[in-house]
Amino acid sequence: MAGLLLSPTEKVFIVHGVQEDYRSDGRSNIDYRPMELETDVVSHASGSARLRLANTDILVGVKTEIDIPTPENPDLGKIEFFVDCSANATPEFEGRGGEQLAIGISNLMQRAYHSSQAFNLKQLCIVESKQCWKLYVDILILECGGNLCDAVSLAVKAALFNTRIPFVKAALMDGGNVDLQLSDDPYDSKLLDVGSAPLLVTLCKIGDKCVVDPSAEEESCSVISVIVGITGNSSCYCEDNSSPETGGKFTTIDMNGPGSVAPKTLKDAINQGIVAAKLLDKSLGEALLRERQESVKLKKYSYGFLK
């Protein structure tokens, strides 16, 4: 993202604020701005979610397709991420302007979901070595107000939570070729197990300290930011708390920016990230379960962008 232009004195003000753990809008270094979440907003997709984090707006759609598993992993399905920076966010994203940023984020997400402890691809397998599900996770960035990676990972997790995969009714083996019959009923489907899906936390180094959820102005003041991917806690996503507590494991780490960071600061930043990720995960789980209960009680009314 092209940084906002700031005067040197404005930067001094922001840096001093971060040192004192009191940012310009009253938040502390580990506070997130209020977010809004809605799932099932796109009807053509198997699962979708929209997340609004202050000025950042992300829309995620998940599509399913039948594919052949790779020979090295015959019992695993596939997942692929695609990020599109819409020009709605800023005129710089017109045409191919946002491509570098988009590729960076999609690669980061791909790495974060790579481990089997993060997202179990076994649940996408239909017939071993013959057929599996492939998930296309399409991320659309509608507005950019700082802190893209966190918002993207939250929206992706919510969309995957919302995804329904049709049940395979019959599989006819026709001389080596497999013919699948999928159930036509939209409610005859299974949900994915996404409790342990990773969340990304961006820690922006401003001065000596690190902040989470930087606003666009704060991002312009920092020389380097550390992005960590931490697996989630499955127990937050079960209504009856039956799953054991998991999570808190690293899946990926990335750095962004022209500066550098000392090893001790890096360790502190990572610990801060783990704490923040746990809090994020808990809140996201609560919100998603609340929404699911609401849609069970009353017929789901889609708000989307209206209201």
């Binding site: 232009l5 700031l6 005067s7 040197p8 004195t9 404005e10 001094v12 003000f13 001093h16 604020g17 004192e20 009191y22 940012r23 310009s24 809008d25 009253g26 938040r27 502390s28 580990i30 506070d31 997130y32 701005r33 209020p34 977010m35 809004e36 979440l37 809605e38 929209r50 923040a276 809090l279 994020l280 808990k282 809140s283 996201l284 609560e286 919100a287 609340r290 929404e291 609401e294 009314y301 708000y303 989307g304 209201k307």
Partner: protein, 299 residues
């Protein structure tokens, strides 16, 4: 209990409108005929076609004697002579600076329109041109006044007064220009201890109050004050004012020093400044402020 992360659902979304529906004015939409008579002069937002005056934007009509304008809810800043603006320097050119002021063309600050350090009055020499960058660089924020408007609509600014000039530590907030009322004074020292510059172009600058009188030209002193740490209580007040302005903007209320002060006083019941980031709190503050303003009007 203060939580660090708050996620709400779309079904819990809050409507920010605080307007009362009983006294709505006549709205005009693009292409609508305002009047058929020809002896009216057409102002902004109107155009003449087939002997009638039609609206070209969606908004309310403003009629001053024979001049009819339509004012839209939102638009880029249209400058007028005498307006106070807050702008950011984009480029340093040959004898002028290009300043961004949220209008449709970049504004210009001529070298001849700034006060020289030391307060001298003389023609600008070659040396001054070379020293331009020392005075104002790319990214610096300035407060200035509109000196004149060029034929294509771009503005020429000047800072020929001690109250204008480069801005030091503080917070900049961008709002829509139509939310700013035209007043005589745009530099306010709020009773809570901070000063606010409300630019007509929608840029609002919040900064701690200047404690002592500075003599222009003392470079060391200025440098010290620029990098001095703002103390904690002032920071809290600035954060609170920033969140109050955001609350007023979300409910599309007009901004001036009275509404900001009312909002500040109403927000004191939220002890923690970051609680004001919640949409319910923002609506609450805006609603109470609107109530107080109505009350003052009725008196």
């Amino acid at each position: 209990m203060t939580r660090h992360v708050k996620i709400r659902l779309a079904s819990e979304r809050v409507n920010h409108s605080v307007s009362s529906n009983n006294e709505l004015p006549r709205f005009y939409t693009p292409g609508e005929v305002i009047t058929g008579m020809q002896d009216f002069m057409r102002g902004h937002g109107t155009y003449a076609e087939d002997d009638s005056l039609k609206a070209s934007v969606a908004g309310v009509m403003q009629k001053v004697n024979k001049l009819i304008c339509i004012r839209p809810l939102k638009s880029r800043y249209v400058g007028e002579i005498g307006d106070v603006v807050v702008g950011r320097v984009l480029e340093v050119q040959q004898r002028r600076w290009k300043v961004e002021t949220n209008s449709r063309l970049d504004s210009v600050l001529q070298l001849s329109s700034v006060n020289l350090p030391g307060g001298e009055l003389r023609r600008r020499s070659e040396e001054d041109e070379l020293m331009m960058r020392k005075h104002l660089q790319e990214g610096d924020l300035i407060s200035a006044e509109v000196q004149s408007v060029f034929s294509d609509g771009s503005l020429s600014l000047h800072t020929r007064s001690l109250k204008y000039g480069k801005l030091s530590q503080g917070i900049l907030i961008k709002v829509f220009p139509s939310l700013i009322k035209r007043r005589k004074n745009h530099f306010h020292n709020l009773p809570c201890g901070i000063s606010v510059i409300i630019g007509n172009n929608g840029y609002i600058w919040i900064s701690p109050q200047e404690k002592s009188n500075m003599v222009e030209g003392e470079k060391d002193e200025i440098a010290n004050i620029e990098s001095q740490t703002v103390n904690r209580s002032e920071r809290e007040t600035m954060g609170r004012v920033k969140n109050c302005i955001a609350a007023l903007v979300a409910s599309k209320m007009m901004l001036d020093d009275t509404s900001i002060m009312f909002a500040y006083e109403e927000s004191l019941k939220y002890e923690d400044v970051k609680d004001l980031l919640d949409t319910e709190a923002m609506l609450d503050v805006a609603f109470l402020t609107q109530h107080r303003i109505n009350y003052v009007d009725e008196d």
